[in-house]
């Protein structure tokens, strides 16, 4: 109810005195608790800026924060005011809502921030007044679209154009084939295929065109030129066959590789493909008699649709098609208004010219042609009015034609421009994404270093460690200490340790992607080998391949460098991902086979893998068994990368018993 109603209610109740003499039944008692109206001035302190308002003003909307008793939570008895630690500029609009009953949306503020403020104060955004509602909705939609694009680009939907990441080596052939089709620049084979098909499309189209050019017929019928297609039928037939074979092969391959065959069959591009190759096959099977050859010739027209296959190769064409689709309503309006105008003017012209003898305007439909030609200002001149009225109406017709056609065009143009810019923005964003992620990763690695230091200090203390590393002099805040303690507790609970990812990935050569893969490794050993040169990584991947396993074991048995762990990344980008279930561990021994096959596609958060960077050659030798690192791939379709636990296997061959193989990787959602 509007604020005004509350103000007028006492008045309406007072006016009810007029019913008293007429009442046939006794009236009910008045409700209790209607205490005398008192009004006082409240002070609301928003980040230092004081707003003062009547209490009644705030009470107008009792289902918001300020109008209900919820504001008592923010009351500061010492100063007698309500303190909110929020943006004072945006609070101004909120307070004006109480005062005037209309919520306005500031133009220069970010729509997201405004939304959050509204949510905090318990105001529904639908209350935004009509003056600002349109703009609010538009901006919100734009924002949502942009965010959706972002997410899509990051997640890299199947077959999405933004998926530039490399597929896991173990993915099925079908998936790789589909990706090769959708993103030609991922592999050379795909690129070759892309260019070959493009070339053949061009060849086919040019052949179609050249077929109809009249070639000088030599010898036989010298006085008559016949089209090249009839002169060299065999050559053209062979070329056509070759093109169709290539197109058919491509179509079948796409059909085979498509993740969803039904959807693929219904998509526009596949329809174009089908239409492009069908006439050939129909022509093959249709016998060459004169009855049907007429229809067959018509079918050949469809061969020109092959040119639409170029839209796979050109993004601009796709944008154009998409624009036309999205401007369907404007185009429809244009068509409708044109039709109306054509009919009106054609009728008028017909009746105006009816009296003239030998006139071209023989009927109204005949006049349609004149009207269209005039309205689009073509003016062929094959039909010309001769009466004065006809000329007057003809000129009006041409003037109005210009107007009618010019009106919807800017809408289409602006739509095209918007979509085109969106596309460009998407490309730019994808390029920036990698840089951004790398930077974030570097910033995050600082936090992981801290935990490693902490652990090392604790570890050394536990074991009466001899040496205090020189790097341990990093002061950490209370928050960090508690955080590290928490991680440490988790390690102890599961008797596994976090390990280093970078060393693991180094050894494996796995491309870690923007920190979005989760790796969980456990480093069992806190020992440091002084003579580490190279990290040996025990790798187990969630979706491993046999050779990797073997390699891992080989590495484990080889001399290992000491690096105690790779930098872990507390991936806060995992905000995009929902926390998945704790992935079970994969271990490297024979038992790992079963466990290793799980959760390849789990959408887990990136595990925080923490490992302690070990400065080579200055750490004491500790004899601790190592645990294999098991990593877990995650993210939709992302490859799992393993994290390596550096093993000191070289010097500890004895200790590299099965024990370390039994350690499981622990996955922790990023905090």
């Amino acid at each position: 109810m509007a604020a005004g109603v509350a103000t007028w209610l006492p008045f309406a109740r007072a006016a009810a005195v007029g019913w008293l003499p007429l009442a046939q039944q006794p009236l009910p008692a008045a409700p209790q608790g209607c205490e005398a109206r008192s009004d006082e001035v409240l002070v609301v302190n928003v980040s230092g800026r004081r707003f003062q308002t009547w209490k009644n003003t705030l009470d107008r909307y009792p289902d918001t924060l300020l109008g209900s008793s919820e504001k008592e939570f923010f009351f500061d008895p010492d100063s007698g005011e309500y303190f909110f630690d929020r943006d004072p500029d945006l609070f101004r609009h909120v307070l004006n809502f109480y005062r005037t009953g209309r919520l306005h949306c500031p133009r220069q503020e970010c729509i997201q921030a405004f939304d959050e403020e509204l949510a905090f104060y318990g105001i529904v955004p639908e209350l935004i007044g009509d003056c600002c509602l349109e703009e609010y909705r538009d901006r919100k939609k734009e924002n949502a679209e942009r965010l959706a694009e972002d997410e899509e680009a990051e997640l890299g939907g199947p077959g999405g154009a933004g998926a530039d990441w490399a597929l896991p080596p173990g993915s099925p052939f079908r998936q790789r084939l589909w990706r090769a089709f959708e993103n030609p620049h991922t592999s050379t084979m795909a690129l070759v295929f892309y260019y070959v098909t493009g070339f053949f499309i061009a060849v086919s189209v040019i052949a179609n065109v050249v077929e109809t050019i009249p070639c000088a017929a030599g010898g036989r019928a010298g006085w008559r030129e016949e089209p090249c297609g009839d002169r060299f039928p065999l050559a053209f037939f062979c070329m056509d066959t070759a093109c169709v074979l290539i197109f058919t092969g491509e179509y079948l391959l796409r059909l085979f590789a498509a993740p969803s065959r039904g959807r693929f069959l219904r998509s526009v591009m596949s329809l174009i493909d089908a239409v492009a190759i069908l006439p050939y096959y129909i022509g093959l099977f249709v016998p060459k008699n004169d009855d049907l050859s007429g229809a067959f010739v018509t079918l050949r027209v469809f061969r020109v649709f092959r040119i639409f296959k170029f839209s796979r190769h050109s993004q601009g064409l796709r944008i154009l098609g998409y624009t036309l689709k999205s401007c369907a309503s404007e185009l429809g309006f244009l068509l409708f208004s044109l039709t109306m105008a054509i009919i009106i003017f054609a009728t008028v012209m017909f009746y105006a010219e009816k009296g003239t003898s030998k006139t071209n305007f023989t009927s109204i439909p005949a006049a349609f042609w004149y009207t269209i030609v005039t309205m689009t200002t073509l003016g062929y001149g094959d039909m010309v009015p001769s009466t004065i009225a006809g000329k007057i109406f003809g000129s009006i017709c041409s003037l109005s034609g210009v107007l009618v056609i010019a009106l919807p065009v800017p809408v289409i143009v602006s739509n095209f421009s918007r979509i085109y810019h969106q596309n460009q923005r998407a490309d730019k964003r994808r390029a920036q994404q990698k840089v951004r992620l790398a930077r974030i990763r570097m910033a995050k690695s600082g936090t992981t270093t801290a935990f490693l230091q902490y652990k090392r200090n604790r570890g050394l203390e536990d074991q009466d460690g001899a040496e205090r590393p020189a790097l341990s002099t990093r002061s950490s805040s209370a928050f960090e200490q508690q955080h590290h303690h928490l991680l440490h507790c988790l390690e102890k609970t599961t008797s596994h340790e976090f390990t280093d990812e970078s060393t693991f990935s180094e050894a494996l050569g796995v491309i870690s992607l923007g920190g979005q893969t989760s790796r969980s490794t456990s480093v069992s050993s806190q020992a440091v080998i002084g003579t580490s040169t190279r990290a040996s990584s025990l790798i187990s991947s969630c979706c491993p391949r046999q050779n990797k396993q073997r390699r891992a074991i080989r590495l484990a048995n080889s001399t290992a460098s000491v690096s105690r762990g790779s930098m872990q990344e507390l991936d806060t980008l995992a905000g995009h991902h929902s926390p998945g279930p704790q992935s079970s561990r994969a271990s490297l021994n024979a038992k790992t086979h079963d466990t290793l096959t799980l959760n390849c596609d789990s959408q887990d958060l990136v595990a925080a893998i923490i490992s302690i960077p070990t400065p080579p050659a200055n750490t004491p030798d500790e004899s601790r068994p190592r645990s294999p690192a098991s990593d877990r791939g995650e993210g939709p379709g992302r490859p799992s990368s393993g994290s390596s636990s550096s093993s000191r296997g070289a010097l500890r061959n004895s200790s590299l018993g099965p024990s370390y193989l039994l350690h499981n990787a622990v996955k922790i959602s990023s905090l």
Partner: protein, 234 residues
């Protein structure tokens, strides 16, 4: 042959006339020429009506409200009607928000007339305050007087059956359609009017005067008791 010529000539003439009229209209639309002469008056009407109420002390003396209550009342009033007066349309709108099921426009009209004591078509803050003062803080006599004034549509001092019928119908209209028991066409209000007149019209002359009204009401227990109901509205 001649007819054909005339046909085309006629068509040409018609066409020319149509074109001239259309172009005149277009020019008028574009504002280049003006046909009507009342554009000046339109400008004058744009000025908004502003009204400033009497001083606070004066109102306090005239009504039975305290200063604080008057302040609260005025703030609410001014917030809703920044121009300082309420016209009938706004009044009807406000009142209809309280009775969404039925049609309260007729009753609001009568109510508006009852509040608009100086009959200038708008209710100012003074009228508002005076009316509320009587209704909420007045004596029983004053309240009954006010009610009589409300029922007496033409303000001639007598309530006739027709006036009462109108009032009753307006009140029943506010109920709307979804009632229990179902409201039939006119019967309930007619019947109610009959009952009312039987009770109030002592000398059975078909009209109710102010004295008859007050006297009858004072004798009725129910009415007296319910007069206290709305004391504490503000």
């Amino acid at each position: 042959m001649l007819t054909l010529e005339w046909e085309s000539e006629g068509l040409q003439t018609v066409g020319i006339v149509v074109i001239i009229c259309a172009s005149l209209k277009l020019l008028h639309l574009l504002g280049l020429i003006d046909f009507s002469e009342d554009s000046v008056e339109d400008e004058m009407e744009m000025a908004t009506v502003r009204h400033r109420p009497e001083a606070l002390e004066l109102l306090e003396a005239q009504s039975k409200f305290t200063k604080k209550e008057l302040q609260i009342l005025y703030r609410g009033f001014k917030n809703e009607c920044p121009s300082g007066v309420v016209n009938e349309e706004t009044f009807k709108e406000i009142y209809s928000q309280f009775f969404p099921q039925g049609d309260s426009t007729t009753y609001a009209h009568f109510l508006f007339n009852a509040f608009d004591t100086d009959h200038n078509g708008s209710v100012s803050f003074e009228d508002f305050v005076m009316g509320l003062s009587i209704l909420l803080r007045g004596t029983v006599q004053e309240k009954l007087n006010w009610a009589f004034n409300l029922y007496d549509i033409n303000k001639d001092g007598y309530i006739t059956k027709e006036e009462m019928l109108d009032i009753m119908k307006a009140i029943y209209d506010m109920m709307g359609k979804c009632t229990y028991p179902v409201l039939k066409e006119d019967a309930p209000s007619r019947q109610h009017v009959e009952t009312f007149f039987q009770k109030m019209d002592k000398n059975k002359d078909g009209v109710v005067t102010i004295d008859e009204f007050i006297e009858s009401c004072q004798k009725d227990e129910n009415i007296m008791r319910s007069m206290q109901l709305f004391e504490n509205v503000i």
